[in-house]
């Protein structure tokens, strides 16, 4: 069909396009990192207290749980779905923790396990409902969010557990140097998820299901099982976040989780995870969480109206997603010119 020369030119172009694409994908992570470092530099120049041990500790402690909340949503975004019941599952786990520690007086590992199991169980319920009824995950988790919160309130009668064993509350103060010890948990979770999505069968199956559920099913992927497991995992992660927050506050409050929903989308979306499913960026989600935390922290230090922070966060989200969209368009155009 085409001459040798044309073929050579074509494959050279193909190579260039592939390189461009991977550059842009790295650029996302790289870009985020750059922005974060820039932010940190700027903020600490203007408000040197940013780098103080006190501030770093507070920043990283909040970051730790916020990042995990973002991960919990990311796992379900991979499926192309949403988990609106994140906060509700979190608070149930919180209450289980409080109850186990305070009322039952059981050791901390048991309480943590119970909390994670609760999260996983509730997540599994979501997954089962979605698979069993075939109804949109948005609607299902919208309903279960109310259901789970209501159930929690009914059972606990909205009591607060604030007489938690001191060893547990002490965990809230754990530190590694100036940084909160919670970050260890976060990094562990981050590593585990990275492993999951890049090096495991289940991770690949989740992404395949999210990208094209019919094709995945016809290729032998057990899509129903995958959906249930992903939701269960999301629940477990919500539980982890709940435990961390409880330790942080040294109390199990029924109001925990109320404000988790929207931030839970922010980190993964900023980090490049696609709303449509089929692609996640674990490192991106972590960086996204860092960016948001740093931004928030910085604005507080500047005595900026604590509320303008919301404003800037919104702009940041728009900018990030807009940029991403623009990048996709560029890559598409480059690949079209190829053929």
């Amino acid at each position: 069909m085409s001459s040798v020369v044309e073929k050579e030119a074509a494959s050279a172009r193909a190579l260039r396009a592939a390189r461009l694409l991977s550059m842009i994908q790295t650029a996302n992570t790289g870009g985020l990192l750059f922005v974060i470092l820039l932010l940190i530099a700027t903020i600490s120049a203007i408000a040197p207290s940013f780098l103080s041990p006190f501030n770093l500790f507070a920043l990283t402690r909040n970051l730790a749980s916020d990042a995990i909340i973002g991960f919990a949503m990311m796992v379900v975004l991979a499926l192309g779905q949403m988990n609106l019941a994140l906060g509700a599952i979190g608070v149930c786990a919180v209450m289980v923790t409080g109850y186990t520690l305070e009322q039952l007086g059981l050791p901390i590992p048991v309480a943590v396990l119970a909390a994670l199991a609760t999260g996983g169980l509730l997540g599994m319920v979501n997954g089962l409902l979605i698979v069993g009824t075939g109804i949109n995950a948005f609607v299902i988790t919208l309903a279960t969010a109310s259901l789970f919160t209501g159930l929690m309130l009914i059972v606990t009668k909205a009591t607060t557990f604030h007489n938690l064993p001191p060893e547990f509350s002490a965990l809230g103060y754990s530190r590694v140097g100036p940084i909160s010890g919670f970050l260890v948990v976060t990094l562990f979770v981050c590593g585990a998820l990275f492993l999951l999505f890049n090096f495991s069968v289940l991770g690949r199956q989740i992404l395949a299901t999210g990208a094209n559920i019919v094709a995945a099913g016809l290729s032998g992927v057990p899509v129903n099982r995958v959906i249930i497991v992903a939701h269960a995992l999301s629940g477990v992660l919500a539980g982890v976040a709940g435990v961390l927050v409880t330790a942080h506050l040294a109390a199990a409050l029924p109001s925990i989780g109320e404000d988790w929903l929207l931030p839970s989308f922010l980190a993964p979306l900023l980090g490049g995870t696609l709303l449509a499913g089929g692609y996640v960026s674990v490192s991106g989600a972590l960086l996204g969480a860092i960016l948001v935390s740093v931004l928030q922290n910085g604005l507080v230090l500047f005595n900026v109206n604590g509320f303008r922070i919301q404003f800037f966060l919104g702009l940041a989200l728009l900018a990030a997603v807009g940029l991403d969209r623009w990048r996709t368009v560029l890559v598409q155009r480059a690949e079209k010119r190829l053929t």
């Binding site: 495991s200 990208a211 094209n212 290729s219 032998g220 190829l338």
Partner: protein
């Protein structure tokens, strides 16, 4: 009479494929013109061009002598070209009437006149002698009736130029008769009608002239149908001298019956399906669009639990296949889907992931861990064997040419080392070279002991490859033929089998919603 709509030397190139290569088409007023061609011949590309979905890369289009170029379907519509597409384009919850007039909702002082729409719709439905209440929501109709609604819509545009793309694919015989009556009347009133169809009997019965496309070129252009026989058209379509690849003779080493269906019935309408495929055999399943072949294949692999009766035997033992997972892992049955973009591939993922998807569980280490390297090395042999043209296994499948995409969608089943492979239209929309490759592959698979069930609407492909051929029509198997590989004999036997079956059915074909 001068041409109303003319297409001259148009070329249309998609990534990797020349869909149209210097094609001509002439539509005159007062004429029903057939556009015929095998799958992938370029019919739908040409229709898309006429209706403004895509523009030509080369060549020109003339409307009433003036050069035109449509940049959107709305422009084509505004220019007076009414079209009924192959796929349905209706708003499910809207009524028949509203769907018909969606592009020109009648209003008075800003208020939509629903009653007037229903009245007007009634007129067109009456013309087609269809007795629906125009207020019926379209989603409650069967696919056949939906098609009639769209035909009614096209008619209601009162335009001079009417394009019908496979308009009788789903409708019953009596409806076909009525439609033809209407079309003839329109023709007599001076309309130019383009009738795209693979149903040659209908073409012979209705049309005045014919243009046949083959591999993106005119096999014949604007011929009068007077004195032509069906077999002449088929010759144009398939071009015997254009045998894609000469595979020679295959020494068949046939084993036991690996897959067998006995009196299988399904919820979808299949009845008394008897067929078997032996190890090392290539069995063809031929039928026209709507015969129920893909549906049968999907039923067999357990994609939908629709088998209601009869027996499915694997290696002689009665089995019940619970789902695709079981079909693949336990019975090693694979299914190459006819819809490679929607069902066969994950377009946003890499070649490696798409190919390895069927064997992830097998190549994983303990704890279900798998590395990109292991994945690559596991599937590279298959990618290379199929000669998939990629610069790296990480390339996104969506960016490959149609032929390469199809190779990937087959590669994953090779990787899965299936014992039974059902291939559904494996060379549709694929370039000639890849077609040859895949044909060779089918024989190699059979030679290595795989039981291959080949579903294709490409008669010459079927006769070239299959050892035995089952002919399906109307969700039933109507004939079983041993392939003598003599083209004329086999093609007429097959066509006759379908014809006889069609004639036999005196009850009008009911409509079917294809799964």
């Amino acid at each position: 009479m001068g041409a109303l709509l003319e297409v001259r030397q148009v070329t249309k190139i998609y990534p990797g494929v020349r869909a149209l290569n210097g094609v001509d088409l002439t539509l005159r007023a007062g004429e029903i013109h057939a556009l015929v061609g095998a799958n992938g011949a370029g019919k739908s590309s040409l229709v898309k061009m006429l209706t403004g979905v895509h523009g030509p890369d080369e060549g020109e289009m003339r409307l009433r002598g003036e050069i035109v170029r449509f940049s959107s379907p709305q422009e084509s519509l505004a220019a007076g070209i009414a079209v009924v597409h192959q796929e349905r384009n209706l708003i499910p919850r809207y009524s028949i009437a509203e769907n018909m007039f969606l592009d020109r909702l009648p209003t008075r002082h800003g208020v939509v006149q629903h009653a007037k729409m229903r009245e007007d719709a009634r007129r067109w439905l009456d013309m087609l002698e269809v007795s629906f209440d125009p207020a019926t929501p379209v989603q409650r109709l069967s696919v056949a009736h939906m098609q009639l609604v769209e035909i009614g819509r096209a008619l209601s545009l009162n335009s001079n130029i009417l394009l019908l793309d496979e308009p009788t694919a789903s409708i019953s015989e009596s409806d076909v008769d009525r439609l033809f009556k209407v079309l003839r009347r329109l023709r007599d009133q001076g309309a130019a009608i383009l009738f795209v169809s693979h149903k040659l009997e209908e073409v012979m019965a209705l049309c005045d002239r014919v243009t046949v496309l083959r591999d993106g070129k005119n096999a014949c252009n604007d011929r009068s149908l007077e004195g032509m026989k069906k077999v002449d058209i088929v010759t144009f379509m398939l071009g015997r001298e254009n045998a894609v690849s000469d595979l020679g003779v295959r020494s068949q080493r046939l084993g036991e019956r690996r897959l067998e269906l006995k009196s299988v019935t399904t919820e979808l309408g299949h009845r008394d399906i008897d067929l078997y495929v032996r190890a090392g055999e290539v069995v063809g399943l031929y039928g026209l669009v709507g015969a129920g072949r893909s549906e049968l294949a999907k039923a067999v692999i357990g994609s939908h639990r629709v088998i209601t009766g009869g027996e499915v035997l694997i290696d002689g033992k009665r089995t019940s296949i619970g789902g695709v997972l079981e079909a693949l892992r336990k019975w090693r049955i694979g299914y190459v889907s006819e819809d490679r973009k929607g069902e066969g591939l994950i377009l946003t993922h890499s070649v490696a992931r798409n190919t390895a998807i069927t064997i992830w569980h097998a190549i994983a280490g303990r704890v279900g861990l798998i590395s990109g390297q292991r994945e690559d090395s596991a599937i590279r042999p298959y990618v290379e064997r199929l000669d998939v043209k990629v610069t790296s296994l990480a390339q996104t499948v969506g960016n490959l040419s149609g032929g390469n995409q199809q190779k990937v969608s087959v590669a994953k089943w090779l990787a899965a080392d299936t014992r039974i492979l059902i291939m559904d239209e494996p060379t549709a929309g694929v370039d000639v070279r890849t077609k040859g490759y895949l044909h060779q592959l089918v024989w190699e698979l059979a030679d290595s002991g795989v039981a291959v069930l080949l579903i294709t609407s490409d008669l010459s492909e079927m006769i070239q490859l299959a050892d035995r051929i089952y002919v399906m029509n109307d969700y039933r198997v109507v004939e079983e033929l041993t392939n003598s590989r003599e083209y004329d004999l086999m093609s007429s036997s097959i066509m006759n089998a379908i014809q006889i079956d069609n004639d036999r059915v005196s009850v009008p074909k009911p409509a079917v919603a294809l799964a």
